[in-house]
C-alpha cells in the first residue's frame, strides 16, 4: 500500500516542491505560507537527511490529509489557500505540510529509525525556534500559541502520519514511533503550563481542533479523550468489524409479517395512507399530520422513551428539522442527553444495555421519519463506541467518554467537514461565474456565502421545486447577504442552463457506486447540466458516504405527504384536484429523494478533498477503517 501511494505523492506538484527543497533550494516563493518557509531553513540545517527522506518515504495516508484540511480550516478561515493546491487528489497539500514541518516530525523519527535521534534534535530545535510546544500535544499547542494556520497544519500532519505507519510498519518501527511519541509527550508536558491560559481565550479553535476525525493515535487520546486501547489492537479488529457492518437489507414494508411485528412494537401509531402507489409498496407511507397531537399528549407519560429523543422524533415528524446534517446533529445531541441521564440498571452491563436502549430509540425515530443515511452512519458510530468501551471504565468515565465521542463526531464529521468543503469548493468559483444550485443544500450555501465574503463576483441561479420550495428560503438568505440571484423552477432548468458555468449540488448521501442520493430533482438538474456540458459539483461530507449501492430511485426512497401535491400552497386558483383525493383512480406520489447516476457528476467535494465519483468506494473503505479506529 505504501509503495502504491508513493508514486501518487510524487506526481503531486507540491511533492515536487519538496524535492526542490531537499536539494536545499530556497522555495519560499513557492510557499503560500510564510511560516512554512521560515521553518524550512531550520529544518534543513538540522536534519537534511531526514528531510530528503520524508516526502517519498512517508506517504501520507488518505484520511490524514483530511485532518490537514480540518486543521487548516480550523486554524483560520483567513488562511490563504492557493486554489491550485486543491484539486482531485485529496493528498494535495499534505506534502507541503510534511516538508515544512519535517524537523519536528515524530513520524519521520519513527520511520527512519536508525537515525531516530536526529528528528528528536530537529524537534527540539524547532520548538526552541518557534518558542512553541511540540507536536505530540499538537492540539493544545496550536491553540496556545495561536500559530498561523500553516504551521499548525503541519504539526497536525506529523501526528497524522504516525497512525498509518503504525498499521503498516514493522514492529521495530512501531517501537521507535512509540518512543518518539513518548519523547514528544514529555516535551509537551514541559511546556504544558502555558496551555490553559491561552486556550481559554480561544475556546472555539481548541474545540475544533479537539475534533480531529482521524486521530486514532495514542497521542490524541491522551490529549482529547481518554479513549482506550492501543491502536494496533484496534487495527486487528477492523476486519471483523467490517464483516459485521456489511449493510443488512432494509426493512421492506410489503413484507406483511415484518410490518405486523414492527407495528406491535411501535410507539407512533401511524395510519397507513389509503391511496398508495403500487410501485412503492415496499416503502412506508402513512397519513401525515394525524399522529402528531396524539404523540404530543403522550409526552409526559412515556416510559421507555427519553424526552430528548422524543422531542427530536416529534420534530422530525412535523418537519421542523430537516436536512441531513440538521437531523443528524439533533439526533446525536439527543443521544448525548440520553448518555448523560443514563444509569446502568443492576445486573446489566453498560455496553449491552445502552446499545439496546439506543436501538429502541432509533426504531422510534424511524417510526417518526425514515432514517437518512447520515443518521445511519452516526448511529453506527455511536453503537461502535459503546461496544468498544472497555469494561474497566467506571460508569461515569464511560459516560463522559461517550459524550465527548459524540461531541467530537458532531464537530469533526459535520461542522469541520463543512468548513473544509467550503475551503475546497471556493477555489472552484471564479469571477464571472454563474452558479446553479438546486433546493437548499447547507454545504453549498456555505460555499456561496464564503465565496461572496472573498469578494468573488458571481451570480447564483436558484432552482426550486414543489412541494417543499426550499429554494425560496435559500434565495431569501442569499439575497440578504447581497448575492445576486435568479430564481426559477425545475421545469425551466433547460432554459437557464445555457448561461450556467457550474452546478453546485448537495447530497443526502453518496453511495459507493458513485450514485448521489439527494433531494428529488437533483438528478434532473445534473442530467440537464451534463447534457449542456456544464460541470456538476456535489458537496457532501464524508460521513454521509455509504457502502450501499443503488441503481434507481425506486428501490429505496422516502415518501412524503401526498396531500402536499394536490394542494398548491399560495395558489388558490389551482384547485382542480380538490375533490378527488379519495378517488381510487388517483394517486399522488411525493418522492423525497432520487438517485443521480455517477456519469452526471463531474466531481464530489468532500472533506477528504475533491474526488471523482469513482473514488467514492475508496473513501468509504478508508472511512470505515478509520471509523472503527476512532
Amino acid at each position: 500500500m505504501e509503495s502504491r501511494r508513493n508514486p501518487r505523492a510524487v506526481v503531486d506538484p507540491k511533492v515536487r516542491q519538496v524535492g526542490f527543497f531537499t536539494s536545499s533550494q530556497p522555495d519560499s516563493t513557492h510557499q503560500p505560507d510564510p511560516i512554512a518557509s521560515e521553518s524550512h531553513p531550520v529544518a534543513s540545517s538540522i536534519s537534511p537527511s531526514g528531510n530528503s527522506l520524508s516526502p517519498v518515504m512517508i506517504p501520507p495516508p488518505r484520511h490524514n490529509s483530511s485532518d490537514t484540511f480540518l486543521l487548516r480550516a480550523a486554524a483560520a478561515a483567513a488562511s490563504a489557500v492557493s486554489p491550485s493546491s486543491f484539486s482531485y487528489s485529496t493528498r494535495r497539500d499534505f506534502p507541503d505540510g510534511s516538508m515544512t514541518a519535517s524537523p519536528g516530525r515524530v513520524s519521520r523519527a519513527s520511520f527512519s529509525k536508525p537515525s531516530s535521534s536526529l528528528p528528536g534534535v530537529g524537534m527540539d530545535s524547532m520548538a526552541a525556534a518557534k518558542s512553541s510546544s511540540v507536536p505530540a500535544s499538537g492540539l493544545t499547542t496550536v491553540s496556545v500559541v495561536n500559530m498561523p494556520p500553516g504551521l499548525s497544519e503541519k504539526e497536525s500532519d506529523q501526528k497524522k502520519n504516525s497512525k498509518p505507519l503504525k498499521e503498516k510498519t514493522t514492529k521495530a518501527e512501531r517501537r521507535a514511533l512509540q518512543e518518539a511519541q513518548r519523547a514528544a509527550k514529555a516535551a509537551a508536558k514541559a511546556e504544558g503550563g502555558k496551555a490553559p491560559l491561552v486556550s481559554s481565550g480561544s475556546v472555539a479553535s481548541t474545540n475544533v481542533k479537539a475534533a480531529k476525525p482521524a486521530k486514532p493515535s495514542s497521542q490524541k487520546n491522551d490529549v482529547a479523550v481518554a479513549a482506550p486501547g492501543p491502536s494496533e489492537k484496534k487495527g486487528g479488529q477492523t476486519e471483523k468489524d467490517r464483516k459485521k457492518d456489511a449493510p443488512h437489507p432494509r426493512m421492506q414494508y410489503d413484507d406483511e409479517s415484518r410490518v405486523v411485528k414492527a407495528k406491535r412494537r411501535a410507539v407512533v401509531k401511524q395510519t397507513e395512507a389509503k391511496n398508495r402507489v403500487e410501485l412503492f409498496r415496499h416503502l412506508p407511507q402513512y397519513e401525515h399530520g394525524t399522529q402528531l397531537p396524539d404523540l404530543e399528549t403522550k409526552f409526559f407519560q412515556l416510559d421507555p422513551m427519553h424526552p430528548a429523543v422524543y422531542k427530536v422524533g416529534l420534530q422530525y415528524l412535523s418537519g421542523d428539522i430537516s436536512g441531513g446534517n440538521a437531523r443528524c446533529i439533533a439526533m446525536l445531541q439527543a443521544f448525548q442527553e440520553v448518555v448523560k441521564d443514563y444509569s446502568t440498571p443492576s445486573e446489566k452491563t453498560l455496553n449491552r444495555d445502552m446499545t439496546a436502549k439506543i436501538s429502541s430509540y432509533v426504531s422510534f425515530l424511524i417510526e417518526c421519519r425514515p432514517l437518512s443515511v447520515s443518521m445511519g452512519n452516526a448511529i453506527r458510530f455511536v453503537k461502535n463506541r459503546i461496544a468498544k468501551l472497555p469494561i474497566t471504565l467506571s460508569e461515569s468515565e464511560a459516560k463522559a467518554a461517550l459524550q465527548s465521542d459524540i461531541e467530537r463526531f458532531i464537530n469533526e464529521k459535520i461542522i469541520m467537514a463543512d468548513t473544509v468543503i467550503v475551503k475546497h469548493a471556493v477555489t472552484k468559483i471564479r469571477d464571472g461565474d454563474v452558479l446553479l444550485t438546486y433546493g437548499s443544500p447547507t454545504a453549498v450555501e456555505m460555499v456561496l456565502l464564503h465565496a461572496h465574503e472573498l469578494k468573488k463576483k458571481f451570480r447564483v441561479l436558484v432552482v426550486d421545486s414543489r412541494p417543499k420550495l426550499e429554494g425560496q428560503l435559500l434565495l431569501r438568505r442569499l439575497i440578504k447577504r447581497g448575492i445576486s440571484c435568479t430564481y426559477t423552477h425545475i421545469n425551466a432548468v433547460s432554459y437557464i442552463m445555457h448561461e450556467v458555468t457550474k452546478v453546485f449540488l448537495g447530497a443526502s448521501s453518496v453511495l459507493s457506486n458513485g450514485t448521489v442520493y439527494s433531494r428529488v430533482g437533483t438528478a434532473c438538474v445534473a442530467m440537464v447540466a451534463s447534457a449542456f456540458r456544464v460541470p456538476v459539483l456535489v458537496c457532501c461530507e464524508a460521513y454521509k458516504f455509504h457502502e450501499r449501492v443503488q441503481l434507481d430511485s425506486i428501490c429505496s426512497n422516502e415518501l412524503g405527504d401526498p396531500n402536499a401535491i394536490s394542494k398548491v400552497h399560495g395558489r388558490e386558483d389551482i384547485n382542480y384536484l380538490d375533490g378527488l383525493t379519495n378517488n381510487a383512480n388517483l394517486q399522488f406520489l411525493n418522492l423525497m429523494y432520487d438517485a443521480t447516476p455517477s456519469d452526471y457528476i463531474s466531481m464530489i467535494i468532500t472533506d477528504y478533498g475533491m474526488v471523482p465519483p469513482t473514488s467514492v468506494p475508496v473513501i468509504v473503505r478508508e472511512y470505515q477503517k478509520e471509523h472503527s479506529l476512532v
Partner: protein, 450 residues
C-alpha cells in the same frame, strides 16, 4: 424537345415581361398571383380597401385564445373565413389574406400554429387557382411544351400574363407531387424572371371569362378552407385512432402538461379495454398536469400525479412518454410545455420512447434558431414567488443598478429532434427526420416567409 413553338412561347413571354416591367413597379412575390388573376387597374384601390377593412382581427385576440387548436379554428372561422369571403368579393384574395395573416402572426409570433394555418390557407388558394387554370387550359389544344426548366418554375405560381401553355406547364408540375429536386433547387428561373406585371393585351383577352373564374375560385377556396377546418377539428380523433397501435396492456405512460390530444389519445386506448397507468407530471407553475389528471380520472384511468422533480426518478419505470406539442419545427424539433426537454433527456437516458402527438396544423415550416429564447414566452414571476413575501427583493425602483433578484418563468421548452422517437400526427406516425417532407405537402415554398 425544343420545338419551334416552345421558343416562340418563350420569346413572347420575355417580351411580355419586359413590357410589364416598364409599366409597373416590382411587387412582393405574393402579389404577382393577384396580378395574374385580376386586372392591374383595380389593384391599388382594393388593396387599400382591404387593409382598412373592419374585419381585421385585433392583436389581443391571440392572447385570449388558449390552446392552439382553438386558436386555429377561431382564426379560420371568425377572421379567416369571413375575411376570405369579403376579400373574394374584392377580388384580391391572397394578397390581402397574406396581409391579414401577417398581422395575426405578428400579434403573437410565439403562437406558431397561427402562421401555419395562414400558410395553409394561402396554399389552398394557390392550389385551387392552379387547378382552375389547368382546367381552363385543358380545353385549349396545346402542345406539350414543358421541360425541366419549366417544372422548376412551376410550384403553384401562376405567371402573370403568361400564355396559357406556360401556365398549363406550371400547373402540371404542381399537381404532380413535388419532387425532391424541386424542393431543393428552388426556382432558378424565378430569379431571372421578375414577378411583376400586367399587360393590357393579356388582361383584355381574359376579361371574358374572368368573372366566372373568380366565382369558381372563390367557391373552391371556401370549400378547401372548410375542409381544413374540418381537419383541424377532427385531428384529435384521427390521432386517437392510432392509440391502440401504440399502447399495450399494463403499460406505464408518463405525460406532461395538459393537451387535449393526449387526453383523447389515452382515452381511446382505455376505451379499447387496455388497462394501463398514467404518470402525470404536475407542470409547475401552471399546474396543467393537475387539470389533465382530473380529466383522466374522470374518464376512469389509473392516474398518478408526480412532482416535476420526480420525472427522472420515475422514468426508469415508464414504458413510454407521450406529450402534446405546442409546435413541431421543420427539423423535427418540438416546442412543448416547459419541462419537456428534461423529460426527453431522461427518456433518452433510459431508452424510453418519447412520442409527440401533434395535429398537422402544428407543423411549422420554419427551422428553429435558438428556440429556447426566440420562440419562448416569459410569464409573470408571481407564479413562482409570492409578491407579498418577496416584494422587497423584487423592487426594481429603489437602489442603484439592477436588482438582486430576478425570476425566470418560461412557458415553453424546445426538444431537439434527436430526443424524439416518434411523431403521431393525423396522417400517421412519422420520424423526426421526415418532418421536412410533410412540410412540402402542406405549404407553398413562397409562403414560408410571410
Amino acid at each position: 424537345i425544343y420545338t419551334k413553338e416552345f421558343f416562340l412561347e418563350r420569346l413572347s413571354y420575355w417580351a411580355f415581361v419586359s413590357a410589364a416591367q416598364t409599366l409597373r413597379p416590382i411587387k412582393p412575390p405574393a402579389s404577382h398571383y393577384l396580378v395574374f388573376l385580376f386586372n392591374s387597374v383595380s389593384l391599388s384601390p382594393e388593396y387599400s380597401l382591404s387593409t382598412s377593412s373592419p374585419h381585421r382581427s385585433p392583436p389581443s385576440h391571440s392572447h385570449r385564445c388558449r390552446t392552439c387548436n382553438r386558436w386555429c379554428l377561431s382564426l379560420l372561422t371568425s377572421s379567416g373565413n369571413v375575411r376570405l369571403r369579403d376579400l373574394k368579393l374584392q377580388r384580391d384574395a391572397p394578397w390581402s389574406f397574406l396581409a391579414v395573416g401577417a398581422q395575426l402572426v405578428a400579434a403573437n409570433p410565439v403562437e406558431l400554429a397561427v402562421g401555419n394555418v395562414v400558410r395553409r390557407v394561402l396554399h389552398i388558394i394557390r392550389e385551387e387557382d392552379l387547378s382552375l387554370a389547368t382546367a381552363a387550359v385543358a380545353g385549349l389544344d396545346l402542345l406539350d411544351a414543358s421541360d425541366d426548366d419549366e417544372d422548376v418554375n412551376g410550384k403553384g405560381i401562376g405567371y402573370p400574363g403568361m400564355s396559357a401553355a406556360v401556365v398549363a406547364a406550371a400547373a402540371r408540375s404542381t399537381l404532380r407531387p413535388p419532387s425532391l429536386q424541386t424542393l431543393l433547387e428552388g426556382t432558378p428561373e424565378s430569379a431571372t424572371v421578375p414577378y411583376t406585371s400586367s399587360s393590357g393585351a393579356d388582361s383584355e383577352s381574359k376579361t371574358a371569362d374572368k368573372s366566372s373564374i373568380t366565382r369558381k375560385l372563390k367557391h373552391d377556396v371556401i370549400e378547401g378552407v372548410n375542409q381544413l377546418i374540418h381537419e383541424i377539428a377532427g385531428c384529435h380523433e384521427q390521432i386517437a385512432e392510432q392509440a391502440i397501435e401504440h399502447i399495450h396492456q399494463n403499460e406505464v405512460i408518463l405525460t406532461l402538461g395538459s393537451s387535449r390530444t393526449v387526453l383523447e389519445f389515452l382515452c381511446a386506448a382505455k376505451e379499447k379495454k387496455r388497462s394501463f397507468r398514467v404518470f402525470v407530471a404536475e407542470g409547475a407553475p401552471r399546474y396543467q398536469g393537475h387539470l389533465l389528471a382530473k380529466e383522466l380520472v374522470a374518464r376512469g384511468l389509473q392516474t398518478t400525479v408526480i412532482t416535476d422533480s420526480a420525472v427522472f426518478a420515475m422514468i426508469s419505470r415508464v414504458n413510454m412518454v407521450i406529450i402534446g406539442a405546442h409546435a413541431v419545427m421543420a427539423n423535427g424539433g418540438v416546442i412543448g410545455p416547459v419541462g419537456v426537454n428534461m423529460a426527453a433527456l431522461a427518456a433518452k437516458k433510459h431508452a424510453v420512447p418519447f412520442v409527440v402527438l401533434a395535429g398537422s396544423h402544428k407543423l411549422c415550416p420554419l427551422y428553429p434558431h435558438n428556440p429556447e429564447v426566440l420562440l419562448n414566452e416569459l410569464r409573470s414571476p408571481s407564479e413562482l414567488l409570492d409578491f407579498g413575501e418577496f416584494s422587497d427583493c423584487l423592487d426594481f425602483g429603489t437602489g442603484s443598478g439592477s436588482p438582486l433578484l430576478q425570476v425566470v418563468n418560461p412557458t415553453f421548452d424546445y426538444v431537439p429532434p434527436s430526443l424524439v422517437s416518434l411523431f403521431i400526427t393525423d396522417t400517421g406516425g412519422h420520424n423526426p427526420s421526415y418532418m421536412y417532407r410533410l412540410i412540402a405537402d402542406y405549404y407553398s415554398a413562397d409562403d414560408l416567409v410571410m
